[in-house]
Symmetry: D2
Subunit: 264 residues, 4 copies
């Protein structure tokens, strides 16, 4: 019943993008990916097997997953650009998630540096997915800069606080109907991922909520179902909310109209 979707020429089945950070035990990652039924996986370029670094996270990622390297650790556009080029030169493809973070406490994305990095990398042929604070003007600038999709945050990274920015997310969804919007960061529960999809998000990205669960594999499966549920609900067209109640079952007159039942 679910439909595939396309982005940057790739056909994907899943609308759940999964991150690979924060796992105490990385050997669980293949099971998490499988349970998540995900097609796209983000990995910090920092942790990829560049120049013989000891961490070898790539071994934990399924061979058929689409890789979305991210520039975490970049504090400005120039650093993000350099990290992106490193990943490409190392053979990790041309998808890049831009993360530019200059704030140590809330880890919020720097929209302006992100726009600049998007412009440079899109011009170089990268497929660019910028992580951003949901601001309508920044979103439009990212579209103009050549972003393939935008990735606004729901709440600070790793906070598991859900869709705190939902008023702004709704505006982005309403005003940029042709731009895929992938809600990234802050989603802490499958119900919140479903809610983002019901609002019309193209996909969601989840990392901490799975990695911090007591049973990450089970939680990955939960997110897979929730994202599919939210997408289906969006397509199904929810009914409107109402101030008062509306009976599901007929309320009037059952026993009153049928005096022959009175003896029961």
């Amino acid at each position: 019943m679910e439909e595939n979707w396309k982005i940057a020429g790739k056909t994907l089945r899943s609308r759940l993008i999964v991150g690979t950070g924060k796992y105490a035990d990385q050997s669980i990652l293949p099971q998490v990916m499988q349970a998540a039924e995900t097609d796209v996986v983000t990995v910090a370029v920092r942790r990829m097997n560049l120049a013989g670094m000891p961490e070898n996270i790539m071994d934990s990622i399924p061979a058929d997953a689409v890789l979305m390297p991210n520039t975490s650790g970049a504090r400005n556009a120039a650093e993000a650009v350099r990290i992106a080029r490193l990943a490409k030169a190392a053979g990790y493809g041309d998808w890049i998630k831009i993360e530019v973070i200059g704030d140590a406490r809330y880890l919020l994305p720097d929209n302006q540096e992100t726009i600049e990095a998007t412009r440079i990398l899109a011009a170089e042929g990268f497929t660019v997915f910028p992580y951003m604070n949901p601001d309508l003007y920044a979103a439009r600038a990212l579209v103009a800069a050549g972003a393939t999709a935008i990735m606004p945050l729901g709440a600070p990274i790793g906070s598991n606080r859900g869709l705190e920015t939902q008023a702004m997310l709704r505006i982005l969804l309403a005003e940029l109907p042709d731009m895929p919007i992938i809600v990234d960061a802050g989603i802490g529960r499958p119900s919140e991922a479903a809610a983002a999809m019901e609002m019309g998000a193209a996909a969601v990205m989840v990392n901490t909520a799975i990695a911090s669960a007591k049973e990450p594999v089970k939680m990955a499966a939960a997110f897979a179902k929730a994202v599919a549920a939210g997408r289906l609900a969006y397509l199904a067209g929810p009914g409107s909310r109402r101030e008062t109640a509306v009976a599901s079952s007929p309320l009037t007159g059952f026993l009153r109209r049928e005096p022959n039942h009175e003896q029961c």
Copy 2:
């Protein structure tokens, strides 16, 4: 990965109970039930084929579904009791969902009349599922009266407003850990059903949200997935919410520590 559950001696796969009211076109019901992957279906006794009434909703309900007749239309305990007996006498089994509603605008359940009806019907051997306003004392009285599960409302019937009573639902879930709690009424979106399950509800009951969707069959499938997602998330043990951010990917020192990459 999902587990079956048992209630009143029946083994069920699904934790989604579906209602049958409010469908403009009842011929769609079998497809809705199938998409919902539900095992339990509620039907107003009023609409059942008693004494040759013209409406024949029973033809639309899968033969293998567990039937949960409801007493909608009852305004007090006595009427609910009579409706329950009618259903049993007509061969519809001994499960009964008690709805006693004396309020025309918000259709709220009358807890005291519901407790009384529960006591009478449980003593007669019915398997009783009372619809209730989430109040801890009423919940305890329903347990004492012999209820098999309790069905507190999330919001007024048909309002699609979600979990407005969630503070009280959390208290019921915490204080009655051995009683199955089925959130009934008000759930308008699959994300809200998932949230109820994440809180620890045993099941949810949905009617209007499916019936009022533009595409009810698709919405039924969405709810099936969302309920399964919420249950899995509950079992997986979600991580805690945090005030500030926590990095998913390593943030420090990538480019700074590796001067040999600086030329990129």
Copy 3:
């Protein structure tokens, strides 16, 4: 600009009722009362100077305050009735706030026992203010039992969690327009007291939020203003909420229409 109001034959200026429990230092109470500009004060009968008990809280209450003794400590109707009679016999007037609590963790009121106590005490000539869980049927039963006003909770006592029950409070306010509704328990911030008044509450009762503040006298003054603000806003008739924006200032054409300003 504020109007007096009447309840049970007394004319009051303030719509803020203040409790006297939980103060580390009771000598601060007269200042708190003054800052709160309150006319009505609740005191646990248990703490009143009955039969020469050592605690002498009555010394801390202004002589002109209307006293609302409460039955805290009562676990059922009979105990509440006895406590009420004790207070009256000791000369503390005929106002009584009924609190019947049989739950040790959330301290929720037992609506049924409260209705019973209300019936007995109202028949004896008491002016009865029952503390209750906001349930429409219980509210109607309290009206029928002779309550002067009803006191539904916003959240569990002492939790400072605000208006968690607001969906039910709105229903009570809509369905019982002639009954004074005093929101009691759970209010933790002046903004929440204001919100309750904006919804149409007749008054609010606050204890923990003031007593647990770092500076209780200042917080009492804050609540006095917030309650007055909320009442005025209710009377002023707030404008409706809107999906999109509406300019406060003219947005179009300023510079465009006035070419003579272009040189600036």
Copy 4:
């Protein structure tokens, strides 16, 4: 009990800034200002009596109010700068509220153009109050550009939707403790103004909520009290929120410990 505050060398009593747009009947403005007890009033430069324009809103503003002209109608930095200079040249002082809006539906501020206008006007000696979307990097850039205070929105202008951006407002308040933060736009109820002040805002700006009330003068008085209440509550230091209940009155043993009262 309330303290004065200083901003840009002016001592103010009130923390409520009032707008002058959207009044059906402008003759009510002096009463609104008086009831609001405000010291600072914003007026669109467009509506000021420049070059003999017919609208003469300045007649409705108290002579002792501090005037905060705003640049509404500006679509970019250059237009905002020109409007600001116009106001100054016409003798309306050097305070300027920068509004740069390039979005017709939600009327959201354009942070980047606003930063640019702030830089130019602050360098020219204006006292600059930029209206902004609450983004931490933009807020820091505004500080660096010379803003006197920042004015983040709570919700789209005129929407009466309250503090939809509160997660970001909290971050700004935490990270910029030395910068006055004035919550502007979206506040629809006095309770919401109080909540903004309780969070630590320096002031709030209100227009639509007063102008769209059925009785604007009364609503202005309500906001005056609510803002003062919120400020006092912030200073008083609210107690913490708790999961479970905490008794306000002693709950244990009253009747049980005193057998001599049993006969009552």
